[in-house]
């Protein structure tokens, strides 16, 4: 077998989503027995590429060559049949079935007459498992396995299909250090079997421990692809963040007032591990973290959407009750959620009704809403934020993403708040609307609010924040003032 055999080649692949070029002319080559790391910030295009290879998304243009022949993938089934297996973070196993049943899920070995040949199935599973040095009983139920063992089942499944390419999406994000070590063992076995591996990760130390080649994505493009022995962390990080910040953010000078929100030792059973910090009046605190760092969990725990198991919250020196959203809302907290449609908008309601939801009681007398007042206030904000809508009674569902986001911002501008938490305020929004939203963030701080901006976009973070907190693994791993913050320092803390 020739070591340099190209097994998978991707040529000039394009993929566009409404408003975003997710992939732009990407070329990539994977060889037999090679472990190639795919790295890049959130939204750089790694996930889109592997979803195309998995048959989940369809490419808009370009070519996929598999062992030299063009490949058209229409479904996940297709790509598995052709020998490409993607192990996503969300494992695709049937928990109620056994290890062997999962391994042979698509093609149970049958006896003559159509009955399942259990003995052959368990035997073959055992064979596959021992080929990667894995000690696991094929008849065990998958639901009784740890996450790391379940990953192994997915890998065994790939082998049962004689997969030649295995793609892993951040496989170590939920593993303990010991489990990571055994996963690496297995990956090395796969490599020895001549399988090509694409390994998506956020952790650079894994790249240097495990991988042969590191490929960097940025803004939908492949920036560099280097042999691991010939590069170093600095070079990779520079490639990851390399873009110059061109957008202008109108963060005007603001005066930092007294502390408004104090968070002490906040922990949840899922993610957060003792998070403490303060936000002052008139200050914009940017909170950065890569996928899975715990940003959104932090916002949800502060607001009371998720229960906290330990910690304290204070608002202007008064204790806040944990885990009560109505208490938080009445105390003066506002939350713009990351998931606009799922958790922010009430799609069936009108633009005006969505805007006034938290403040509508201010327009009510004897429990009845005074429509005139509600409409005039809403109209004021439609004009102030330049929201494009045919009328106030138009259903919010029919507005564009940017305008929907402005409706949600208007919701919090209308209410008297102490603290506003903005989770990914500009995700999926075009550049023009982005700038307007950044201007609003500035205005909120100027009005004396304590503002938290949770973002995974580096330019936004550096542009809007007075102070930056970096999260990783549910903890705060770095704090930087506006002046001292650089992309490299922030990323280093985020990878820690």
């Amino acid at each position: 077998m020739n070591e340099n055999d190209v097994i998978l080649e991707v040529r000039k692949i394009n993929k566009e989503f409404p408003g975003v070029k997710a992939l732009n002319g990407v070329d990539l080559i994977l060889r037999r027995g090679e472990v190639q790391a795919l790295v890049g910030e959130n939204g750089a295009g790694k996930s889109t590429l592997i979803k195309i290879l998995a048959g989940v998304y369809r490419k808009d243009a370009g070519e996929i060559l598999f062992e030299g022949t063009p490949l058209e993938l229409h479904s996940a089934h297709d790509s598995l049949q052709r020998g490409i297996k993607v192990v996503f973070q969300e494992l695709a196993l049937v928990p109620q079935l056994s290890v062997a049943e999962n391994v042979f899920l698509e093609s149970f070995p049958l006896k003559r007459g159509g009955a399942i040949d259990w003995r052959a199935m368990n035997g073959k599973t055992q064979e596959i498992l021992s080929s990667i040095n894995l000690d696991l009983n094929p008849s065990r139920k998958v639901s009784s396995l740890t996450i790391s063992q379940q990953q192994m089942v997915e890998i065994a499944r790939a082998l049962s299909h004689e997969a030649k390419v295995v793609i892993m999406d951040e496989p170590t994000s939920a593993l303990t250090p010991n489990e990571v070590r055994s996963l690496f063992e297995v990956i090395r076995r796969l490599k020895a079997l001549g399988i090509g591996i694409l390994y998506v990760t956020h952790k650079l130390e894994e790249v240097f421990e495990l991988c042969d080649r590191v490929t960097v994505f940025r803004d939908g493009q492949l920036v560099s692809s280097r042999a691991v022995p010939e590069t170093n962390t600095n070079e990779v990080v520079t490639d990851m963040v390399g873009r110059a910040i061109t957008t202008l953010f109108p963060r005007t000078h603001s005066v930092r007032g007294e502390p408004v929100l104090t968070v002490r030792g906040l922990s949840t059973d899922k993610k957060l591990k003792g998070v403490s910090f303060e936000v002052h009046a008139g200050e914009v605190v940017g909170i950065f973290g890569l996928l899975g760092a715990g940003r959104t969990e932090l916002a949800r725990a502060i607001f009371g959407l998720d229960p906290a198991i330990a910690g304290e919250l204070e608002l202007r020196g008064r204790k806040l009750r944990l885990g009560s959203t109505s208490h938080s809302a009445h105390a003066g907290l506002g939350l713009l959620t990351e998931d606009r449609k799922g958790e922010g908008l009430v799609l069936q309601m009108s633009v005006a009704q969505n805007m006034t939801l938290p403040s509508v009681r201010e327009f009510a007398r004897f429990g009845l809403i005074r429509a005139k007042e509600e409409n005039s206030r809403s109209q004021e904000y439609v004009q102030r934020l330049a929201i494009k809508t045919p009328s106030l009674r138009h259903k919010v569902e029919y507005l564009s993403g940017g305008n929907q986001q402005k409706v949600l911002l208007a919701r919090w501008l209308m209410k008297k708040l102490e603290v506003i938490i903005l989770d990914e305020p500009t995700r999926g929004i075009d550049v023009g609307a982005k700038a307007e939203i950044h201007k609003l963030i500035d205005e909120l701080a100027m009005a004396g609010l304590a503002v938290m901006v949770l973002t995974s976009e580096m330019p936004e973070l550096l542009g809007v924040s007075d102070r930056i907190l970096v999260m990783s693994g549910g903890r705060i791993t770095g704090e930087f003032g506006r002046e001292e913050a650089t992309q490299e320092k922030i990323l280093a803390a985020a990878i820690a």
Partner: protein
């Protein structure tokens, strides 16, 4: 092919935009068809008769509409109606007080609603299952309480009047229905509580973030809904002039079918009282028509079953049409 597809789309689009108008047309069409079979159908007396018969389902339908708007449902109201009737009659017989009997019946309704609400919000039991359980508990409970019908021993006139009396030419049940309907029309469309109902059903997380106490609101809605159903139970027992443990069977399905036919979504966040009123009256007119045309009365149950399927089908069509409107 192409024209029929666009015609289908136009229909569903119209269903979204002019739901109530279409329902009124359907109602008129059915009425005309029945009148052709028997002109007595359209007489003033029969119309009042239909409205009086509808009053119980409409009153319970007000509550059901609110519950469905919050994304919940209550299948226990049929059993509740029977239990309320038996308890009200029994208390009247024992105390000789119509007021106490009616109050006891309404209190039983409120209590049932409270339990349904707590089971849903605190024990996190899906309301479909939780209220089926309550349906069984109440039906079994009323049989344990009294296996036979409870008669109006003292022949209380005041009690008989609730379901059978008139104010001028207007039957009292219609009057009660009209008053409750108008009150809740204001509550649902103009009040804070009404706004919160829609927000809670439309997007519970958004509602919570906006400071709405979703659990408390849902419990209250269960209580109001069950109390309204108990009111329907009081009218029913008065109309029968006896509390019957096996009454109210299928009442919950009649009410829910009418409400969904009227455009209230099973998914929550949507629905109007006007739609519910028309939907329930359409169901009643079909039932009345079957009698007036002299058909087999058991057809009523069969037709109700079909209407339920049509109602849910239309609900699905509306959702699809709405998605299409967004993309175009």
């Amino acid at each position: 092919m192409a024209t029929s597809a666009t015609r289908g789309q136009t229909f569903t689009r119209a269903l979204v935009l002019f739901n109530e108008l279409i329902l009124v047309l359907v109602l008129v069409l059915i009425s005309i068809l029945i009148s052709i079979g028997n002109p007595k159908f359209i007489s003033f007396a029969n119309i009042l008769n239909i409205l009086r018969d509808s009053s119980m389902a409409v009153i319970a339908g007000i509550g059901m509409t609110m519950l469905l708007i919050t994304g919940e449902v209550d299948l226990s109201i049929g059993s509740l109606v029977a239990f309320v009737g038996v308890v009200a009659m029994d208390i009247i017989n024992k105390t000789q007080s119509t007021a106490l009997g009616v109050l006891a019946g309404l209190a039983l309704g409120s209590l049932t609603g409270l339990v349904n609400g707590v089971v849903r919000t605190k024990l996190k039991v899906n309301s479909l299952i939780g209220t089926i359980a309550m349906m069984m508990i109440l039906r079994g409970g009323v049989y344990i309480y009294r296996i036979a019908a409870v008669q109006n021993y003292h022949q209380k006139r005041a009690f008989f009047e609730i379901g059978n009396g008139y104010l001028g030419f207007l039957p009292i049940p219609i009057l009660l229905m009209a008053i409750l309907y108008l009150v809740f029309l204001v509550v649902i469309n103009k009040s804070l509580a009404g706004r919160y109902l829609y927000a809670t059903g439309g997007n519970p997380t958004a509602a919570r973030i906006s400071g709405i106490n979703v659990d408390r609101l849902k419990i209250l809605t269960f209580i109001v809904s069950s109390t309204l159903a108990a009111m329907a139970g009081v009218i029913l027992v008065s109309r029968m002039n006896s509390g019957q443990p096996n009454s109210g069977q299928g009442f919950e399905l009649e009410v829910i079918s009418g409400v969904i036919l009227g455009g209230t979504s099973l998914g929550g966040g949507e629905g109007t009282l006007v739609g519910s009123l028309i939907g329930i009256i359409i169901m009643r007119i079909i039932n009345n028509g079957i009698i007036i045309l002299g058909w087999n009365q058991d057809l009523q149950i069969v037709v109700s079953g079909f209407v339920l399927i049509v109602a849910v089908y239309l609900d699905n069509r509306r959702k699809v049409a709405r998605a299409k409107i967004i993309t175009t």
